[in-house]
């Protein structure tokens, strides 16, 4: 067997396990259309390493690229880039192939090194309502290359990933993607309250006793639905106000707490809430408890939102959408739980078995979380 082949065999064996050491080849293409204009402004960041491979920029072959080498190749770089991009405008029943006029050549640094920045103007002749982009940079030499397109029209932004398998994008200039984005954040918020079991359990520990009130003989049924509903309303409102407040503060970067404390405090809140149902300490004004602990839960929500990596202008949109979603999810839980609890409140099972057993299980569970969260994450 030839040695060359053997080496390849071993490459194959090792190949899969490690992820790439490098970011793959991506270019960043930004197109901006202003309303009422027949032009688009373009900025295209292409890795110098990629351009060197196709245009041989490193003329002295010393393994480094200087600005001089790049500047001297300006015409070749811009011509090459713009020859691999087509922009078509559609509007008012017309379609027109836009002319791409090169502008300045600059450089910029990305996470994996310097990129050439090609600025250009696409002159379309008509006012576009839709733009079609056909991208084929580097596809002939590198099948893994991708163009990351960011399209701005007014204050709406859309993103597409262009690859050899899907090299074209059709983007509506009129209808912004904002609504879709907002919708995404709302969905995220709903999911979080429904799947983030610690928030849900905390809410339940507050809801279950709302159909009862605590007297000398223990828990007894609340007389009217109105009283229960009022109790629930106060609790849910307090919880909502509190977590909205801290969620906003944390997301806007005004307050930051270590996540270990937050997660531990959330577990503690669930445990205390459940224990309070077992051996009530706070029986009146439970909305105060909901408010106090809601502040902590808000920080927990904020860490989820932070994980979505939202920046800049999307932040407020994200915050409002996500918080709205959390409230919707919460309302759904209330709507599902309250009628059942109210109907069942007279039964001995509800007061003597369901309430205490549920509270006991929840408090043990939450106590366990508390211990785990306090002991296993070593840094905040």
């Amino acid at each position: 067997m030839r040695v060359g082949a053997l080496i390849l065999i071993v490459l194959a064996v090792f190949g899969a396990p490690s992820a790439y050491a490098h970011k793959p080849s991506d270019s960043y293409l930004r197109l901006e259309v202003s309303p009422h204009a027949t032009q688009l402004n373009g900025q295209w960041d292409i890795a110098l390493r990629d351009l060197d491979f196709v245009l041989d920029l490193d003329r002295d072959h010393d393994g480094t690229l200087t600005w001089g080498e790049v500047r001297n190749a300006k015409a070749r770089i811009t011509d090459y880039a713009l020859a691999h991009l087509a922009v078509e405008a559609l509007g008012a029943g017309d379609r027109s192939q836009c002319t791409l006029n090169p502008g300045d050549l600059l450089v910029d640094q990305h996470v994996d090194g310097y990129y050439a920045v090609v600025r250009f103007v696409a002159e379309c002749g008509i006012r576009p309502t839709r733009i079609i982009i056909r991208y084929r940079l580097l596809f002939d030499v590198d099948v893994t290359h991708r163009g990351l397109l960011n399209f701005t029209a007014g204050d709406s932004e859309q993103a597409e990933v262009l690859s050899i398998d899907s090299p074209a994008a059709s983007i509506s200039v009129g209808a912004p993607g904002r609504w879709r984005e907002f919708h995404g954040f709302v969905t995220e918020g709903i999911w979080h309250i429904l799947k983030g079991y610690d928030h849900l359990l905390f809410l339940l520990t507050l809801l279950f006793p709302a159909v009862l009130h605590y007297g000398r003989s223990g828990w007894v049924p609340q007389s009217t639905l109105r009283k229960s509903a009022l109790d629930v309303l106060k609790i849910v409102t307090a919880f909502t106000l509190a977590h909205s407040l801290t969620l906003s503060l944390a997301t806007l970067g005004l307050v930051h707490l270590p996540s270990r404390w937050v997660e531990s405090a959330i577990a503690a809140s669930v445990m205390l809430g459940a224990l309070n149902n077992l051996r009530p300490v706070v029986t009146r004004r439970r909305w105060v408890v909901a408010f106090a602990f809601g502040l902590i839960h808000g920080f927990g929500f904020a860490s989820v939102l932070a994980d979505l990596g939202i920046h800049g202008s999307n932040l407020v949109l994200a915050l409002v959408g996500f918080n709205g979603g959390v409230e919707l999810g919460q309302l759904a839980v209330v709507a599902a739980v309250l009628p059942m609890a109210f109907l069942g409140r007279h039964t001995v099972f509800y007061r003597r078995a369901f309430m205490p057993a549920g509270a006991a299980i929840i408090s043990v569970l939450a106590g366990y979380w508390l211990v785990i969260r306090l002991t296993t994450t070593s840094l905040g």
Binding site: H22, L106, L148, I372, T377
Partner: protein
């Protein structure tokens, strides 16, 4: 109700949503473009430039002689080798572009299929890679390279019976030592760790005559077995030998760095990987080791790795799930976030190497996720997978099992 609560966990929908949101959010990574003041300002170092220069004659030849398959294959192999050494996927893309016209032919040349499969495997397109390999094997049932690539893929996914079958074909198709190493590696993860270790050790003297690539591979397999047998010093010695056989190999360095980190020797892990910040997977190890050793560079490494991770997520690149989970767990100490990614890595990406299992188990334990622990236990008992470090750690959360 309570039982149900155990089974809910942050699931894939989170990541999908995050993906979509990220993709549509404005990118802040882009700074302000500028015109450098000085013509001599160095903008890029091209580490692979010399290697690429070496391939230049082949590149010219391929462009000129469109009917010359061996030259095209040599060029593609050359690109893949650079990509592996530099850990840079663009070279794999170059290789595939060279192969593209050949893959469109009928009949399609079998070696082009095998190389295509190798490239797909690098890009973590495992299903496609397997399909292409099967086409190659149908054309050339005695191609050892095709069988070994297939075995490696199946082993990665934890499909041991099929992997063994592929290894067995190597006995006829290729070198006996290769077949034995292949089988030992698969069997060691499938209930026969001790016997496989002994078998491979007994022939290890013979590997000395083989090219360094094979030797390095064999030693890395021995190291993996030794580590799972609880013989950490032996594993470290094998890995050191493997690294001296293949000094440019980033995978071996990552494996040794992981071992050193587990043994509480972060300073040595830093010394091993310090020069390789440009490699994402090694930069991650630096970030972990730096934090543990309280290195002054720790924050910079962590931030740099996070930047690259964000860039990957933004580009819908899902090849980083293992590293992403390790980063969340060992740098950010976010067990729940890490579990979501580790579970995705295990179930969706289906990466099932020892490293994948370790990170999945650690996150599942920290996040006290009963369904994930159940899944892992099912996997361990159904495959007979052994790892002394791991077994000792598998336990249920105290309140998890009534």
């Amino acid at each position: 109700m309570i039982a149900d609560l155990w089974s809910v966990r942050p699931c894939g929908i989170f990541r999908t949503a995050a993906f979509l949101l990220l993709a549509s959010s404005s990118w802040t990574a882009i700074g302000t473009p500028f015109v450098p003041a000085d013509d001599e300002a160095v903008l890029a170092r091209l580490p692979a430039r010399q290697a690429l220069q070496g391939l230049a004659p082949l590149r010219v030849a391929v462009a000129e002689r469109r009917e010359d398959l061996p030259t095209a294959l040599d060029l593609a192999r050359g690109y893949i080798a650079i990509g592996r050494r530099e850990g840079d996927p663009r070279f794999v893309g170059y290789a595939e572009a060279v192969l593209t016209p050949w893959l469109a032919r009928t009949p399609v040349p079998e070696p082009a299929l095998v190389l295509k499969a190798t490239a797909l495997q690098y890009r973590h397109r495992f299903d496609e890679s397997l399909a292409v390999l099967d086409r190659a094997i149908a054309l050339e049932p005695l191609d050892g390279q095709a069988w070994l690539t297939k075995a490696a893929l199946l082993e990665l996914r934890g499909d041991f019976a099929e992997a063994r079958r592929a290894c067995a074909h190597l006995t006829r198709a290729s070198d006996q030592i290769l077949a034995l190493t292949c089988l030992a590696s698969v069997n060691s993860r499938n209930g026969q760790l001790v016997a496989s270790h002994e078998a491979l050790l007994s022939v290890s003297a013979e590997t000395a005559r083989l090219p360094s690539a094979i030797r390095g591979w064999s030693e890395s397999v021995l190291a993996d077995m030794a580590e799972r047998l609880g013989r950490d010093e032996e594993a470290d010695a094998e890995l050191r030998d493997a690294i001296s056989a293949l000094p440019d190999d980033p995978y071996l360095k990552a494996a040794r760095a992981d071992l050193l980190l587990r043994l509480g020797r972060p300073e040595e892990a830093i010394a091993l990987t310090r020069e390789y910040e440009s490699h994402d997977s090694l930069l991650l190890r630096l970030a972990i080791a730096g934090q543990r050793a309280h290195s002054p560079d720790a924050r910079r490494w962590a931030a740099a790795y996070e930047d690259r991770l964000e860039a990957a997520v933004r580009a819908h690149d899902s090849t980083h799930t293992r590293e992403h989970a390790l980063f969340l767990l060992d740098v950010r100490h976010d067990a729940r976030g890490a579990l979501a990614v580790a579970a995705d890595n295990w179930h969706v990406q289906r990466q099932r190497e020892p490293t994948d299992l370790r990170v999945y188990l650690r996150t599942a334990q920290l996040a006290a996720s009963r369904p994930d622990l159940d899944e892992i236990n099912r996997y361990l008992s159904s495959t007979g997978y052994e790892d002394r470090n791991l077994r000792a750690d598998v336990r249920y959360p105290a309140s998890g099992r009534p």
